[in-house]
């Protein structure tokens, strides 16, 4: 068996899952399952939310250790699912490592949906969350405008390589100020909280919240608290943006 390729495969699967927003314990579990197919004495994986350390050792071979730093992260549940499927097949010996490695390599840069669809769905998320919160047709159409502003900020983030928190703050600031101004023009000030709350929903750190809870339950307190902090900081940046937008609207003419 090619142990070097096995470790490479394991670390690649782990990297894909970690980059796509999988829970830390799931990444460790997947890596160790893949390494155990070698039936060697010692297979260990240590994963944090920013890197992976893997060791494979046995009296019959030289120990193999690899470190993989993971810097960029973007949520992509399709890749988590696909990498999980490949490792399942590998562990139940339905495919060999030689087949699995190229499959994972191919998966690494795959995007499940085209960018325009993601942008369109960001807008729709904002619109339908106002419907969920019992907003009217006018609320939904204002949320549509807010969604377009948010997509503008997302495009800006890609172009200028801004930090995610700055984008969140800028988007929620624009959303708040836009809503306040439009509502005062329309003389229709009742559902402001529904419009703003619905519009910020696409930015909510859902992945960080869920992973914080599930990692902590697994006893991985380090990753759990890191994710909890991430969720808190994103929520705080959104709140700060809304606060700034609302108070600016207030000073512009007592629109609150």
């Amino acid at each position: 068996m090619n142990y070097k390729l096995l470790v490479d495969t394991a670390i690649l699967a782990g990297e894909i899952m970690l980059r796509s927003g999988a829970e830390t314990y799931r990444v460790e579990d997947t890596i160790i399952r893949i390494l155990r197919t070698s039936k060697l004495q010692k297979s260990e994986a240590f994963v944090t939310s920013t890197g992976i350390i893997v060791t494979l050792d046995d009296p019959t071979i030289d120990a193999i250790s690899l470190v993989q730093r993971v810097t960029t992260r973007s949520t992509n549940l399709t890749n988590i699912y696909e990498a999980n499927e490949i490792s399942r097949k590998l562990c139940s010996e339905r495919i060999t490592i030689e087949e699995a490695y190229p499959l994972l390599k191919e998966l690494k840069d795959k995007k499940p949906y085209p960018l325009w669809l993601v942008y369109a769905c960001t807008v729709f998320t904002a619109v339908f969350f106002t419907v969920l919160l019992a907003g009217t047709l006018i609320d939904a159409s204002l949320a549509f405008l807010n969604g377009i502003l948010m997509v503008g900020c997302m495009i800006l983030e890609r172009k200028l390589r801004l930090h995610g928190f700055i984008t969140n703050m800028l988007s929620s600031f624009l959303i708040a100020i836009n809503t306040v101004i439009l509502l005062s023009c329309l003389h229709h000030g009742v559902n402001r909280e529904i419009i703003i709350t619905g519009s910020i929903m696409p930015m909510v750190p859902g992945v960080a919240i869920t992973n914080a809870i599930r990692d902590t339950l697994q006893g991985d307190y380090m990753s759990g608290s890191a994710k909890a902090l991430e969720a808190f900081v994103s929520a705080a940046s959104i709140a700060a943006g809304i606060g700034a937008g609302l108070s600016l609207g207030y000073y512009l003419g007592g629109m609150l």
Binding site: L77, C121, T125, G198, V204, L217, A239, Y250, L256
Partner: protein, 140 residues
Amino acid sequence: MTMLTQVLGAFVATIAFSIVIGVPKKFIVNTGAVGGFGWFIYLLFQNIGYGVVLCYFISSIMVALLSHSFARIRKAPVTVFLIPGIIPLVPGISVYRTVYNIIINETGRSSYYLAQTLQIAGVIAIAIFIMDSIFRVFQK
């Protein structure tokens, strides 16, 4: 009637959000169902007259239960269903009210809503904890 519109809104909103975070195409309808069902339970218990935090607790339990069931049936990681499904229950409105009351200098009300936000976040976490633990017992 409004309730039906809201539940449909939750269904479509969850699907749209699922595409943003890249849920595989074949699970899109399932995630929408989880989100819509969670919001339906929330509205149902709210109409019966339960308190806000309890409503969030019961609906998060149902969302986690449904996510775990779908994960078993469709052989996929639970997160694929749980992350989009729990999104309608994230207490955005309490956060908004906290900020709004800070801006208009209603300190008392803003701390009330801050406490409510933290309580809701806490019960969602406990609900996910409980369902994870229950399903781990049945796992081989």
